[in-house]
Each structure stands twice: as C-alpha cells, then as structure tokens.
Symmetry: C2
Amino acid sequence: MSDEQLVATVRHFNRSVTQRVGALDDAYLTRGRPLAQARLLWEIGPAGAEIAALRTRLNLDAGYLSRLLRTLEGDGLVMVGSADGDGRVRTARLTAAGRAEWDVLDRLSDELAWSILAPLSESQRARLAGAMAEVERLLMASLVELQPCHPGDPRARACLRAYARELDRRFDGGFDPARSGMDDEELVPPNGLFLVATLSAEPVGCGALRLHPGGPAEIKRVWVSESVRGLGVGRRIMGELEQRASAAGADTVRLDTNRTLTEAIRLYRTSGYHEIPAYNDNPYAHHWFAKPLDPAAAPPL
Amino acid sequence: MSDEQLVATVRHFNRSVTQRVGALDDAYLTRGRPLAQARLLWEIGPAGAEIAALRTRLNLDAGYLSRLLRTLEGDGLVMVGSADGDGRVRTARLTAAGRAEWDVLDRLSDELAWSILAPLSESQRARLAGAMAEVERLLMASLVELQPCHPGDPRARACLRAYARELDRRFDGGFDPARSGMDDEELVPPNGLFLVATLSAEPVGCGALRLHPGGPAEIKRVWVSESVRGLGVGRRIMGELEQRASAAGADTVRLDTNRTLTEAIRLYRTSGYHEIPAYNDNPYAHHWFAKPLDPAAAPPL
DNA sequence: TCATATAGCTGACTTTAGTCAGGTAACCAG
DNA sequence: CTGGTTACCTGACTAAAGTCAGCTATATGA
C-alpha cells in the first residue's frame, strides 16, 4: 500500500468506526445520566480511585470534577474520603448503590459488545476480534511518546526501579544497582541524556545516553515495560538515542549487555550492532556491541 | 476464542480505541469552532449538500441545524440557496472562505492520520491499515439491520429498482420487471412480507417472502448492494426469511433463479438448498431450489 | 515556626448542545 | 382553489459542559 492509501484507510477508520461505535457506546452506557457523570462513575470503579488520578485520566478541570463528585455523592452513589497517608489527597469510592449501578454498566457494556458480534457468523466474529486486538495493539505502539527527561523525574525513577527489578530477576546471581553505579548527573546534558517513553502519561520504557566527547557515545539502561513489549518501542528508543548521539557529534555508539538478555541481544544484532571486545569491566556484562553512526542519516532534532 | 473473550476484546477496543482516537479527532479537527459547527462544515463538503441529507447524516434536530447554518452563514463560510426543482428543498454550499476552511480540515485530517502511522515501522503500518480496514468492514456488516417494511416504502422501492437494474444488466436478453410481475399486495402480511436491510438508514439489500398456506413458501427478490457484498448480508436475509416462513407454518421454502446469478446459486447450495424440478414457468428461471425447514430451529420472532 | 506548595472545593460565570412549539412558503391531490 | 403535506425557519426555552478566580486545609522545607 502506498502512503496515500495508508492515510486514506486510517482517515476512513477514524471517521466511520470511531464515531459510530463511540456514539453507540455513549448512548448505551449513560443510563439517562449526563455523559460526564456516567464516565466518572465508571472510572471510579469497584476499587475506588484517587481524585487526582481521575482528573488526569478523564482530563477534567479540578473544579468541574469536584462538582461532578458532589452530584454523585448527592445521588448516594459515591463517597469521597481522605486517604490514609496524605490528608490532602482524597479518594472516591462507590457506595453499595453506586456499586450496583456500576454492575449494571458493566453488564450493559457486555451486552453492547455482544450486540456488535451477534449479527456476524462464527468466523466473522473471530476475524473481527482479531482485527480489533491488532488495531488496539498497534495504536498503542503508535501512541507511545519518547521525550527527554531528568533521571530524577518520578517517571524516570519508576522506569529505573522496574529496570533494576527485572535485571535482578533475570541475571544469574541477581543484580545490585549500586555495583553498576552511575550518577544521575552523567545522564543530563551536556554529559548525556535520559529518554522516557510514555503511553498516555504512564511511563512504559526508558533509555539513556552517556556522551564522551571525542569518543564513542554509550547507550545504557534501555528498558521496555512488559505491557508494550513486541511493539517496537525498544527499537524506537535505540534509534532516537543514536540520532541524538550523532547530533552531539559522536560517530559510534556502543553498549554492553548480559547474556541472559537474549531479546535485547537480538535487537542489537538486527539494528546494525556488531560485537566488539570488552571496553569496560562491568561485572554484569558478557557482550559488548558497537554501531557506526551515519551523520547524514541523523538530522539534528 | 470463547464468547467471553470475544466480548472482552470488543469492549476493550470500544473503550481504548474509540475514545482515544475519537477524542484526538475532535480536538484536532474543530479548529476552535464548536464541534457541531465543524462537523457540519465538513459534511457540507466541496460539492454542497441538501439540508435534509445533512439532517439525517448528522442526526440533528431541524431547528438546531437551521441555527447552525445561520451561524456558518454569518461567518461567511456557507451559503444556503433553494434547489432548482423543488422550492422547499434547500441546499447548502461552501463559499470560497468555507472551501478554504474545508481544505484546511482535509489537510489536518491527513496529518492526523499520518501522525498515527509515523511512529510505526513500515510493516506495522501495513498491518495497522489492514486491521483497520477489516474492523471497518466487519463492523459495517454488523451494523446492517433487517426489518420488515411495506414494498411501497421508499427504501423498498430503491432496492427493487436496483434489483431490476442489476438483473437487466446480467440476464442474457435483459430483464423486464413487468414480465415477472408480482403485486405489492402479495408481499404484505398475511400473504407474504418484504424485508429491507439498512446500513445507517440507507437501504442496502432486500428480500421477499410469498406465503402459500398449506404449501411451500417462496423466496423472491433477494438483492444485496455492491457496497456490502461479501459481508454475509445475503445469507442473513435468507435466514431471516426462512425463520419467518417457518413461524408462519411453512415446512419448506423454495425459489427460482437465473443461471447467470452464480454467486446466488452458490449461496443457495451452501445454505441447505437442493435443486428441484421446475415448479413454475418463470421465463427468467433456469434453476429451482427447495429447502426443508426445521420448525424447532425457528423460534417465532 | 513561617513561607510556600499542593490538593481539592465553591461560587459565578459562559458556551455549547439540544428540544419543542409554533410559524411560513412551496408543493400536490382532488 | 382548497386543504393537507412537506421542508425549513424562528423564538423561547433547558440542561450539560466547561472555565476561572479565589478559598481552605494539609503538607513540606528551611
């Protein structure tokens, strides 16, 4: 398919599917309540939710949200109480009546989904579900955003914790972050940089670059969350780091890795990296890779 | 996949894809204008549109639509004039400024689509577009509604005209509706019935049933529009007619067909019909089929 | 302990969306 | 040419959505 055809397909999909199904959904799942209230009730869910979380998830004005909560409280569907830790943070929970209402919405949501499947034949149903899952997955991949951030940023901290946890689980003999110590300051311009990958504001991956003026740049701490693995996020992070390394004047990037990280090693090999002799004494490293950078292919960002 | 898994997939899709992409679309394509105005401007399009058509397409109240048009006229984007034929029918057209604005929306729509494709690899793009097209097609199939209507209904007339046009094109020697004449009254309960298939209120297919108390029912005038062929609509129409025949007490349905309608013949054969000797002297018929009905499988509707 | 920041709340708005009951002009069938 | 229909318009609403400034209570860091 040509790019024009791809774009036309996506446009068509956006209009027809999005609008039609979206309208169906809204009409069906509000139960006479205003849409905003219904959505809020749904989003609070049986487990309850912090108000700040609701605000970001539904992208609502603080005042507006507060008012919506008062209405739901007035209807006896929701209770808002202070959380244990911080007295400013408040948590919304469903009352028994609210939970009953939520269960109805849950059931209606099932019915709506079934009403879409029902007119189709067995094989069409399977194809539809398969295609929907594929669209969702790839759209997820497309909505992952890469941006530089300070390694001390809460999103970066979350990624680095998950990274260390995973290495500890996978390395023979575990992983001690202290032994591969690297100061945050080394991952801040002009010494280096830290990239975080987010999916609707949730951190789902990271990667860091250490710049050594006059020598090869070094890629470190590339990690991708389970939830988005297999969507090419790792490859995008690598590509972005390489571009930035090139823009900063490096003509080579290199990295080290542990033999247990087989999918990472595969990624390096298929991305133009070749194995080189050890260039450091990282106790966790078994393989060292390098890739020459083509300055022409790396327009400054 | 089990039914539960299918439903879960569809629900997930509805929430994440529909809402996310829908919100993106709306935010991106309104250009500071209220959503309803932006949609209306878009829907009028470079070719202009009759107001009645806009009303049904956008599903708007007549008064509300009128007011929206006045606003767009006030902004110099649209002109509303009477159509040539009927002085009551009015047509909305874009002014030069309106056309310019429409072009911007068109471009933005392309950009939005591209922004979804851009972060993906070549092969992911192709897979996404493929899956989107599949979802759209199957959703279309699912949104086709079957309902009985009077053969004099405008939707029925439109289908029957298209049906006759197609037969005339395909039969050796053409087709003259008069020679296969059947009175509308024969296709109205209790003598028979007429089904129309609609996709968002547009007629896209039809089928008729002629009841002969004490004898086999007869299926006639099954037609499916090009736009939804291959989506199983024909099979659904047949199934629905058979159920209604069974509910009306028939134990057999039969039908005749022309040898040029190969895909119809294939449909009959794969739906449990077997060829029988001629039971009428329809000059256009080359094959006659019958299917026994199982009363247990046909719950009254 | 005091200044400052954070999390949420309230009141006073504006804008958008949507509905409904009349209207008027054009058409149409007898 | 008359009475009914159709296609659209206007005025007068209501409800929902969204914005903004200023407020209170709690936390935090020097």
